[in-house]
Point group: C2
Chain length 146, copies 2
DNA sequence: ACTAAAAATGCAAATGAGTTGCAAATATAT
DNA sequence: ATATATTTGCAACTCATTTGCATTTTTAGT
């Protein structure tokens, strides 16, 4: 009973999100968004595909959906390394960043957002040899009228 | 005369850098480092290959060299998008970050390094709809003794 | 609801940046 | 100068992601 109710709530929430972004409501889209809401990644496209119930959809569909979600900013991609794009639900109320271990590749996240504060907080967590990558993405003056 | 002298200086500087990183001195390595010192990227592996004088080396060698340079931190990679890794000489005295235009993909760089300051400075430069990606890379506690 | 038009999906095939194996060439150390 | 180790070129390969097209599902209009 409780779980049915809970699923109905997920369904409603997910449909709302898709409508907000003007994306049509399809089974694969709903399943992927629900997964990303329930489990907090970041996950690769392949991990997402594997986490979906068998026969939910083709792997190609996962790629297509994720691309659309990124375009509509429903989902945020992180580019840690070559061939390592990880996706996460984009919740503006839980803005955060990640740290990846160079060796074991485990990813941890933190909610600080000023660089020096961050480095201190990461050092306290036991990380050594910390580097960072900071990239901004925007629309330049020249492209604003096109 | 002046240009020969200048080239000799480049040669010396480049050899010094390679030795510092304990990399053997080869023609392709020297050429790639010299290019990255002379022109400030960031450049893709392909761009680098094309900028090298014809027949300097194979494209595979460019990939191999760049990977070694990244490993030894002689060069810094930026991951703006999937399949878009850009390389730059890593000069600790000119620490900076980039902004890419979502539309035209032109890359600009800036030297501020506190997030709010940065966003203000980018807005002054005329960018709109600014997002950022900040990732940290380090060695976690568990991996420090392995 | 019913139907036509639009959009999304599955499958198979293609793409393409980056990697790998191996023999030949080059660099390093003694 | 010679032996050993490293790097390079070439060709073939890999593998995540994309694309084309026929089929299915969704949406919007009546």
């Amino acid at each position: 009973m409780a779980s049915i109710k809970k699923d109905i709530n997920w369904e409603t929430k997910v449909i709302e999100l898709l409508k907000e972004k003007k994306l049509s409501i399809t089974v694969p889209r709903k399943m992927i968004i629900r997964l990303l809401l329930k489990e907090h990644g970041p996950f690769s496209a392949e991990e997402i595909y594997n986490k979906l119930p068998k026969n939910t959809c083709d792997q190609v569909t996962v790629y297509r959906c994720l691309n659309q979600f990124v375009e509509t900013q429903l989902v945020t991609p992180s580019y840690f390394e070559k061939e390592m794009v990880l996706f996460e639900f984009n919740d503006p109320h839980h803005h955060h960043h990640h740290i990846i271990c160079k060796i074991c590749k485990k990813i941890d996240s933190f909610h600080d957002c000023i660089l020096n504060k961050i480095e201190t907080s990461l050092a306290k967590k036991g990380y050594k040899d910390i580097q960072h990558r900071l990239e901004f993405i925007g629309v330049c003056g020249a492209c604003q009228n096109s």
